[in-house]
């Protein structure tokens, strides 16, 4: 009996240690100028990884390179490798459209489509050939984003009539409707009031069991509250990466300690 338990625990542990994204010396250059310099780290399955650091340290740039959203910036080049399901995201045989379908994104400012709430959710799946019941998918996605109760009676209203916090949860629901393996969030709460922020943070805990989340945040308390792993960046370099507890209580690097204790940034 005890042996079985141990085996289960070992299996759990093994699953916990499964890498979803493996960054190997990733550099991002804008017109030859490096914004991210040789970053190596691992994003683990069903864990929340936060990226913190002062403004302009390259954290958003790094995040956008994880689902090839940087492709739309003129003059950008990526060096190094980002392995996802054992494939380099920047390999020749990889279709960036496919990458973005499997690695979703939530942006800094809520950006719902100027369409109905329903269509905001259904558009992504429909263009990607989703064939199941759309009504169910819309309901499920909205429920996962903790928005269903608030909008279930007005799915045909314009999404632009929602409050900022509701719009951001709609954007999360929209991303979830694609059933992505990874959800990238670029300072998702920076445009929101504290109550909406708390809503989103609660939501992150709920989502953690099913999704792998990478979140960029300005707010160190937020990183400490929500994430399992934390990456601290400065001037394009990854200064320290580790379990959130360790980063915030026993940082190895002096710079990290100075930042998390609020001495600069």
């Amino acid at each position: 009996m005890a042996v079985v338990d141990t085996a289960d625990a070992a299996a759990d542990k093994k699953r916990a240690q499964e890498a979803v994204l493996d960054l190997q010396e990733v550099s991002v250059l804008y017109s030859g100028k490096a914004a991210v310099k040789k970053v190596s780290c691992t994003v683990w399955r069903n864990r929340i990884t936060s990226i913190i650091g002062p403004s302009g340290c390259g954290k958003s740039t790094l995040l956008r390179s994880l689902n090839r959203m940087n492709d739309f910036v003129d003059g950008v080049t990526i060096e190094g490798k980002i392995l996802f399901a054992n494939q380099n995201l920047y390999g020749d045989e990889v279709d960036p459209v496919e990458v973005r379908r499997r690695i979703g994104m939530v942006f800094q400012k809520p950006n719902p489509f100027p369409k109905t709430i329903y269509n905001n959710i259904s558009w992504g799946p429909s263009i990607n050939g989703y064939s199941g019941s759309m009504d169910e998918l819309v309901e499920r996605s909205l429920q996962q984003a903790a928005l269903w109760e608030e909008v279930k009676d007005r799915l045909q209203d314009s999404a632009l009539n929602l409050s900022g916090g509701q719009q951001q949860r709609l954007c999360i629901a929209r991303a979830l409707a694609m059933e992505p393996q990874v959800l990238l969030m670029d300072e998702p709460c920076s445009a929101l009031d504290p109550i909406s922020t708390a809503h989103i943070e609660d939501l992150l805990f709920e989502l953690q069991s099913r999704y792998t989340i990478v979140i960029v945040t300005h707010n160190m308390q937020q990183a400490a509250r929500v994430s399992d792993y934390t990456a601290f960046m400065e001037m394009g370099h990854l200064i320290e990466f580790g379990e959130t507890d360790q980063i915030f209580t026993r940082p190895e690097k002096k710079r990290t300690e100075e930042y998390v204790t609020g001495r600069f940034g």
């Binding site: 959203m69 003129d74 459209v97 973005r100 979703g104 950006n111 719902p112 263009i127 954007c171 991303a175």
Partner: protein, 292 residues
């Protein structure tokens, strides 16, 4: 009880005076141009209103002023509007979409951009010469509706392209990113989100361009639109005349009655223009409401 010292108050009063002066200056300029336009309309209406009846609209031109009408010119203009719209809108909007959404920003894009902007400023008579050389002669389309429509399309393409590009630029990047992050292709993003959001702006540009096309006379004279037509065009290869041409030919006659007929023709042209603009505004407001 003054809040500040005397000198500060004096200075403030001077600033307010300046602000008021500028406001009055702007108002004066605005109202003087509106006044000129109103004078013009009043003159034309006084001259032409007496001639404007169903008989005028439903008759072919004639040497006898009492029997003369504008039927062939009105029908010719309507044909033109439809054909120009069908030719110029798809090409112009596609070109704008290509330049804004698909082409790599670089030297070639800049070159095209500068050229399009320059083309918008080329005098219309030059387009007339071009149309004569290319469509009438080279493609041997003769002095037909299609020659006229193609020439007019060339004339207004730059305007449509520039206006559409501006409208497309106004669509926030965040909408594009939202669509692309859901695994949409560039085309899916453009078709489902960029184009609908830019639609009201594109409509405005298109209508302004079409309005310009139906008022243009010079290119049509050059490619040889008829000034006297006693039958209606039945297809794109038929010869034709248009409202501005008819007005021009009446104005150039010595008799006073024909000048008044020209005024009546101008009223018809204005009515067509107003109708088009009203339709555009209606469509624009409806789509804008739907997007909100």
């Amino acid at each position: 009880m003054p809040l500040s010292s005397e000198s500060a108050q004096k200075q403030l009063a001077a600033r307010h005076r300046k602000s008021r002066m500028f406001k009055h200056l702007c108002a004066a300029i605005t109202w003087s141009s509106v006044f000129l336009l109103a004078m013009l309309l009043v003159r034309v209406t006084m001259d032409g209103l007496g001639w404007l009846d169903w008989q005028f609209i439903n008759s072919f031109p004639s040497r006898i002023p009492e029997r003369a009408g504008i039927k062939s010119a009105l029908v010719g203009t309507l044909w033109m509007i439809v054909m120009v719209a069908v030719i110029a809108i798809p090409i112009g909007v596609s070109a704008a979409l290509y330049l804004e959404e698909f082409s790599k920003k670089g030297r070639l894009a800049t070159l095209i951009e500068v050229n399009v902007a320059n083309l918008a400023g080329v005098p219309s008579i030059v387009y007339g010469i071009l149309g004569l050389a290319i469509f009438v002669r080279f493609f041997a389309l003769e002095r037909s509706l299609i020659s006229g429509a193609l020439t007019m399309s060339l004339l207004i393409l730059p305007v449509i392209i520039i206006a559409s590009r501006e409208a497309i630029k106004m669509v926030p990047m965040s909408i594009r990113y939202a669509a692309l992050s859901l695994g949409a292709t560039r085309w899916q993003t453009t078709w489902a989100h960029v184009l609908p959001s830019a639609f009201p702006g594109i409509m405005t540009g298109v209508i302004l361009a079409l309005s310009r096309a139906i008022g243009e006379t010079a290119p049509l004279i050059l490619i040889g639109a008829a000034s006297f037509m006693a039958f209606l065009p039945t297809g794109p290869m038929d010869s034709f005349t248009a409202l501005p041409i008819q007005i021009y030919s009446w104005v150039s006659r010595p008799q006073r009655e024909f000048h008044e007929l020209a005024a009546a023709g101008i009223l018809v042209l204005l009515a067509v223009l107003l109708l088009m603009n009203a339709t555009a505004i209606y469509i624009r407001n409806r789509t804008e409401k739907r997007l909100k």
